[in-house]
Symmetry: C2
Subunit: 491 residues, 2 copies
Amino acid sequence: MRKILFILIVLVATSSYATERWGIFELEFKGQKVDNPFTEVWLTAEFKYKNRTYQVDGFYDGNQTYKVRFMPEFEGKWTYTIQSNIASAHEKMGSFTCTPPKEKNHGPVSVRDTFHFKYADGVPFYPVGTTAYAWVHQNNELIEETLETLKASTFNKLRMTVMPKYYGRYVSNEPPFYPYEGSIEGGWERNRFNVDFFQHLEKQVGELRKLNVEADVILFHPYDKWGFSKGSIEENLLYLKYLVARLGAYRNVWWNMANEYDLMNKPDSEWEMYFKQLLKCDPYGHLKSIHNGKGWYNHSLPWITHLSVQTPYLEKTQAWRETYNKPVINDEFVYEGNIPFDWGNLTAEETVNRFWILYCRGGYASHGETYVHPENILWWSKGGKLYGESPRRIAFLHQIMKEAPEQGLVPLHTVWNKETYLHKGDEYYLYYYGNSQQASAVLKLSEDKKYAVEVIDAWQMTLKKLEKEYSGTVEIALPQKPYMAIRAKAL
Amino acid sequence: MRKILFILIVLVATSSYATERWGIFELEFKGQKVDNPFTEVWLTAEFKYKNRTYQVDGFYDGNQTYKVRFMPEFEGKWTYTIQSNIASAHEKMGSFTCTPPKEKNHGPVSVRDTFHFKYADGVPFYPVGTTAYAWVHQNNELIEETLETLKASTFNKLRMTVMPKYYGRYVSNEPPFYPYEGSIEGGWERNRFNVDFFQHLEKQVGELRKLNVEADVILFHPYDKWGFSKGSIEENLLYLKYLVARLGAYRNVWWNMANEYDLMNKPDSEWEMYFKQLLKCDPYGHLKSIHNGKGWYNHSLPWITHLSVQTPYLEKTQAWRETYNKPVINDEFVYEGNIPFDWGNLTAEETVNRFWILYCRGGYASHGETYVHPENILWWSKGGKLYGESPRRIAFLHQIMKEAPEQGLVPLHTVWNKETYLHKGDEYYLYYYGNSQQASAVLKLSEDKKYAVEVIDAWQMTLKKLEKEYSGTVEIALPQKPYMAIRAKAL
């Protein structure tokens, strides 16, 4: 019972069109007016490469324009066929060539070796994330500043919400765009998306892509004064389908189902429907997670690719690795800042300490910053500038991560889990001593190998190579202050 | 089949003898030689006060002398009857008068209000303990120094072992006395106690009593090179009976069954026998606990009066209170020091921080100190001097504890358990902010009361009373540094 609604004109797609690997191939159609182009028109595209088939949804982009976006994962010739309730588009076919990726394009990130991440081209990805939930909901000047800050930083993942955020004194401004058509006074049309907003959103995701920053896109969150968090299941499924159709082709997208999902009072069965909607609409299998408040999600469910957790209790990291056999990212261990709420007043020292501890326990960490600001521009929600002392120390740790063996690193710990360390067999050791102040450290190195030993000050960002070569059980002098580490590499 | 072995001469006990309440009443007997006075002679005494009866064992004290020690818990006339396999002592009777306690004698400590402690005279006891495991096994000069250090400190409980301690480089000296007769070369006679040692031990317990320091006497521990930790059940039961006969009348004695009991590889049923031996031999019901290594004891068992735990994970304190309904003392959260082992290199700052956190979570903490020393005299094992910066800050906290309401204090906490605080209804609040650095704190005080508010710096030991009176939800400025607290008292 498909009605013919429009005369479709294929504007761009031709067989001579070329898209780089993990870039975006886009088809654009122009049509006639209908009452609700978001619900009355359906359009899907099947993309084929050899024996692989990907199906993606098209989406309405305003101004009587419909688009299909696709991210090719293999180089060579791709063909496609359109399916639609528009007769002239139905069974429409075409092809394009996928060319090698340009420099700095490593493709989407996925799980590597159970507990870690890699780009699609095999380059390891060590997440050092940060958080600016509502940065896309600020004015252009502030958005530009956020991008400049990110560009100058080591951060390679950004936690951000689709929906605008309300949080009392710190975030009370109205966003430039709302995600739905309608108004605060007149109510929102939950089946009509605000195309201007989504164009704006994907522009920012595109900017992050240029910076090689993964967009950890938070699909739902409870910090809402507009009612956007109160959609029905049907409305939310429509929203997810629309969002994935628009953003799925961006290689730097991760799906984070919710920020503090348990504060939204939805049953697990509802979250399951949303995850299944992602599985259905996203043919690329972007990373998927869900972030907890006081609750705890069953991260063993198959759609969860990695843990995105909120907790200041870092000692649980190894247990979660062992329980779920998935990477663990502590996305919220308390932010660096000085606000009067206990989720946002960590010292820079303790922030850096927690990054090191989480890494040495075999997990990863995310940063956030909440320093009191005269205009309430706190990085954690609005972006802007970073004022803290932790980011450059996190960059120093990021460098240590990149220099570690790519494979075979295992976290170990002593009784107290304080002298946590990573090692790869007897080839590589990274001991971290946290906030203790020992005058020396005992290393149990192999008797059969010689090692270069470096004393690292995680806070001062110094790395001092000792002159001697070491073997067996050795005692290394330390300067009796917190945040020291030792790296030993077999020669 | 009781044999008549000796002619006993009652030397001291007469009806005109007087002992202060919670002091020690002692009977002494002289007898003839036997082969093994520890096993061949038995002697018990029944002490009666009105309708109360206490039974204690006598013990051999060398030089053909047998003693009975008793701590009267009520003022007035007490009578006693001896039971023995010595015919001349059997059914021997006498009496004495119990007089009021002298100043500073508050009696033994017991549990108060489920989670706290008090002396027998009702004065609250707030444990601020320390640890010098093997201090009685050092030379007299060092012992004197330890007592001087304790005298000048706020510490009111000392964790100490009966048996000597061996711990590699830090504790390798032979003790002046061994607990058993015999020798390293020739082996130990596990049914013959070294009376010189036990006289020495109880002298030190008596010195602590003079200082009002509770002796948290550790009955077994694994750090042994002599084989003292390897006794058979029968030998250990004999040891406990002998020890309780000697030390039970000291009002400042607590029984800590073991240090790191789980490292001694005994089944729970064996520990149960030892606890039951204490219950049987000790008529006063001294406090009883057991200290864990990596394991965990079932602290709900009825002989456990309070938890003596070892863990750096302070956030579990409230759960343990709720699970066991007993006081929780974290006797080992890691010691202040700088040794290369992760149980002994905490900064003074973190040591003080942990004391505050544990108190504000409704528990108590014990101190220990492990600074590298040229002669390996580390306070933690040998006593001597304290070098750290935490003890005087612990004294400051101890004063805060004494100034808090005696009853009705309840620990609460926020999501993160970081802004943990104690309060008594809306009368008293003690907020502690740990290692965070907030520029202000929000207090939710009653609208109906006025409060005096004090800003406390737990590290600098300052207490600044704000001039204003406060009501309702108020925001108090803080100096953006760790270790701050706020105390609010209804006026």
